[in-house]
Symmetry: C2
Subunit: 296 residues, 2 copies
Amino acid sequence: MTWGDVTANLLIRMAKASFRHVTIVGVGLIGGSCGLAIKKLDSSVRIAGVGRRRASLDAALNAKAIDTAHLDATEVAGQTDLVILSTPVCAFEKHLRSIGPLLKKTAIVTDVGSTKSVVVRAASRALGRTGRFVGSHPMAGSESKGVAHANADLLKGAVCIVTPTGATPQAVTRRVERLWKDLGMKTLRLSPADHDRAVAKVSHLPHALAALMMTVCARSDMSVAATGFRDVTRLASGDAEMWRDIFTTNRKAILAAIDDFDEALMQLRDMLSLTDAPGIEKFLKAAKKRRDAMVE
Amino acid sequence: MTWGDVTANLLIRMAKASFRHVTIVGVGLIGGSCGLAIKKLDSSVRIAGVGRRRASLDAALNAKAIDTAHLDATEVAGQTDLVILSTPVCAFEKHLRSIGPLLKKTAIVTDVGSTKSVVVRAASRALGRTGRFVGSHPMAGSESKGVAHANADLLKGAVCIVTPTGATPQAVTRRVERLWKDLGMKTLRLSPADHDRAVAKVSHLPHALAALMMTVCARSDMSVAATGFRDVTRLASGDAEMWRDIFTTNRKAILAAIDDFDEALMQLRDMLSLTDAPGIEKFLKAAKKRRDAMVE
């Protein structure tokens, strides 16, 4: 075999594995970026975009993130190989109920939502025991909203958590993982509950703390704020509706993360009350060590 | 007058206003950046660097942040026009006591520490009623440490808070403000107590929260951390000794900021417990509005 043959075989294998028609429900920052990344990988894949507002759909068409635009997902459900749900999490079940009965037998459904236990339960209620759903969570994003900020490379290099359950066929999980890897992501399998616990700590709690910092600082305090404050509060500029859904659908794990955090905050409070300089230094050194190790 | 004359007059006026010999005690990130910025403004100003370790002083000499290096500040105290203290805050009083008696009558002393009430009291104890001290806090920095990361432009565009008291002569405050402005900063006058309250909220509390986030997240959680988590925890990589001094010298204002923050955290906790989606959305929208306004 020549290198040309190897490449040709590889391309054939990739084309077989990939989805020929993809429906993206909710063409915002992440949905739009998925569309652009899939088109960049293989421009022959047809992408249908579904949205509530004509203006967003037009923007997605102009950005070439989608090929066709639909206000109603049922228009394309019957011809699609893969559905990617990327609206706020609380709207998923409604969409699944409307398209479920129309999907081809081989069609697969995934999502890009930030919580998983609630989503997996909603999919199971809406789609029954079809085994066609597997949850995904690409750990990428930005505080900017909408397809105008979508980017074919936004997902590249990021981790995508995939959350199969006992009822998910291996082939379904593998095909969805294959797609994310083809788009440049590293995939990681976690149970929905483990996913929710981990992201509550490294994503949802930090978001809550950033928003809280903005609310406890008076406008006059901000005149002295430097780059550190801008960085540490960046997440607070995220879309409020999307985050409301994340907070309500992962509330138990976030409550547990808040309780852990509050206990640590009260320990620091005690050290400050007692002017325990060695204790404070030990705490700061441990935090620095972990942060430096993470960045490496 | 020609433009040449105007420029010449301006230069003479600037030269008169500026300090001809500056002593920087502690040539780390900020001290080194002050040296580089002053040299960039006027290469004829002589800068003496004082430090505990020969290696740091050599690095500062190599970086051209200082002209002469001294392990003991008393070697140069008698010839200097301006002393800038930039060691960790708790070492200030020791330095002031040793150089105080040697300073010229016209010499001025300032600092770049992150807390002010404690510093101003220490200066008053060490220097008496000379009125030569005024506190400064350039709101610039980085999580990197040492003169190797110093940069003539680090201070540019940042706010520098200057904290005169009733005992500070106007001329002293003005000359120090003039220097920071010449180095490209915007100056803001606050009382030491108002400074401490404001920076406790926009700088010290965020640092504490960043460090706490690193300690409550298990190593396994970090495998799913994305750019948001890196940003929100960046401050935790700051120098532990410097921050220990900041925490202990501004403990009262930080304790008050922690209590405000904890009250807001408990309100959010209640909303989550009750799955109060409208309340959560209102909170997130208010935070987003303030963050977006600040960034503009």
